[in-house]
Amino acid sequence: MDDLYRELIIDRFQNPQFRGSLDPNDISFEDDNPLCGDHIRIDLRVGDDDVITEAAFDGRGCSISQASADLVVESVIGKTLAEVKNYTKEDVLDLLGIELGPVRLKCALLSLKVVKAGVYGLNVGEAGDDLIE
C-alpha cells in the first residue's frame, strides 16, 4: 500500500498509546465530525508554567482520526498551553506524514480542534474551523 496507510497510522489506530482518560483533569474537551460521526475527547493535566504534564484521548472513528489523536496527544505533553494555541494544520499533517483530501483532512484535524478548543477554554459548540486553519 502507498503512503496513505503508512504503518504508523494503522499501528497507532490498532495500538494507541494514549487512549484513556484523566480524572481529575485540568482541561477536558470533546467534539465530533458531523460528516462521519468521528468523536474525540481529550483530557489534559497542566502543571507549573502552564506546561502540559499528562494527556489522554478517547473516542471512536476512522484510523486517521484516532491515530491523529494519539499522535497529537503525545506531542502536546511537555508543551505549554501557549505553544498548543499556536499548533496548526501543518503540525498535525507532519505528525501523520501523509497527504489528505478535504474530507479526510477533517478526520485528521478533529483532535487538533478538540485540544485547541480545550486550551482556549471554549464552550461546547464554540469550536469553529478557525482553530484548524
Partner: protein
Amino acid sequence: MTTINQAPKLDIAKIRADFPVLQRQIHDEKPIVYLDSAATSQKPQQVLDAMDIYYQNTNANIHRGIHVLAEEATEQYEGARQRIADFVNAAKSREIIFTRNTTESINLVAYSWGRKNLNEGDVVILTEMEHHSNLVPWQMLAAELNFQLEFISVNETGELDLAAYKELLNLKPKLVSFVHMSNVVGTINPAKEIIRLGHEAGAIVLVDGAQSAPHIPVDVQDLDADFYAFSAHKMCGPTGIGVLYGKEEILLAMPPFLGGGDMIKRVELRSFVSNSLPHKFEAGTPAIAEVIGFGAAVDYLNSIGMDAIAAREHELIEYAHDRLEEVPGVWIFGPSADKKGGVASFTFEGVHPHDVSQILDRDGIAVRAGHHCAMPLHEKFDINATARASFYIYSTEQEIDLLAEGLYKVKEIFG
C-alpha cells in the same frame, strides 16, 4: 431469483460508451469504478448535448417573450415538462412543479401545504429510515406549529413495520411522508399499500422518490400518491433540477411558496394574484437548460426501458450480495437482495467505513462512506457509519468483482 430477471438483456458496453466519466482513468491509469450512483448518477453525453444545443441555439428567457428564441425555449421547456409528466404517468403536465431537487420539493410541501393545513396537536407520520430531506423540514415545521411527529419503526432487516404503521394510523394523521426506496438499506417499501392505508385514515401522502424514480418504473396515478418528489441528478439528468409532482386539486388549494416573477397573474404595490398551475410554484427564471436536460434524461431512460433497468439492477444487487458476503468481516445492512434496489451498505469488522472507502479509492473504486444523510437510522442500529456501493445501468459484474478484491486488500492492510 425473482421473475423480473427474465427481462431482455441490456447491452451494457453500449450504455457505458454513452457516459464519458466511465472512460476516465485515475491513480496511474486505473479505470474508474463508479459505485456511488445513489449519491448522484453519471450523465450520458445525450443529456449534455441537449443542454449544449439549447444554449448554443435557443437560449432565451421563457414564457413572456415573443421573439423566436423565447418561443422555442418555452416550447422546449414545456415539452420537457410533458415528457417528465409522462415518465411518472402524471395525469397532467401542470401537476409537475420544477424545483432544485427532492429536498426543495419536500420543503415546498412543508412550507405551503404544511403551514396551511397543519395545526397544534396534529399528527404527521414519517419513518425511521428517512433521508434528512424528509425529516428536517418536518422538524422545523413541527417546532413552529407544535404538531406531533411519529415514526414508523424499522425492523432488524431494515424493513418498515407495517403493523406499527397501522397502529399509528389510529392517531388520524394529517400527513404521511415516507421514502419509496431507502438510500441506505435499499429497501423498496410497499408504497401503494402505505398510501392506501394512509388515505383510509384520512391522511395526505407524500412519497420521497429520490431513489425510486431513477431505478424502478413509477406510476403516480397507480400509486395514488398525493405528492411525489425526485431529483434529476440521480437519474442521468443535470444537477440543479428536481420535481414535485402533486395532484392538481391539492396544488390548486395551496398558497404559493416563493414569490416573484412568473408566479403571478397581476401585481400591485401591495397585493398580487397568483398565476395558474404549474407557474404558481415556479418563481423567477427557472432552471431552463436543466429542465431541457432532464427531458433528455427521461428520454434516455425510456430508450432503455424502466422495467429493463429495474431487472438489470436486480441482477447486480443479487450478485453484489453474493460477492460481498464472501468477504470475512463484511456485514450488509438491510434486507436480502430480493427486497432491494441496487444499494449495498455495509460495515467491515475493525475498519471504519472511511478507511474502507479511502483504500478502495486508491484502486479507483468510488464508494461512499458515512451516514448517507440518514443519521437516525444509523443511530438506531448503533452504527456510526457504513460504506455504500450503489449501482446503475452502467454498472457491471466486473466492477463488483473489483470491489470484492478491494475489500480483501482492506482486510490485509488492517490485519
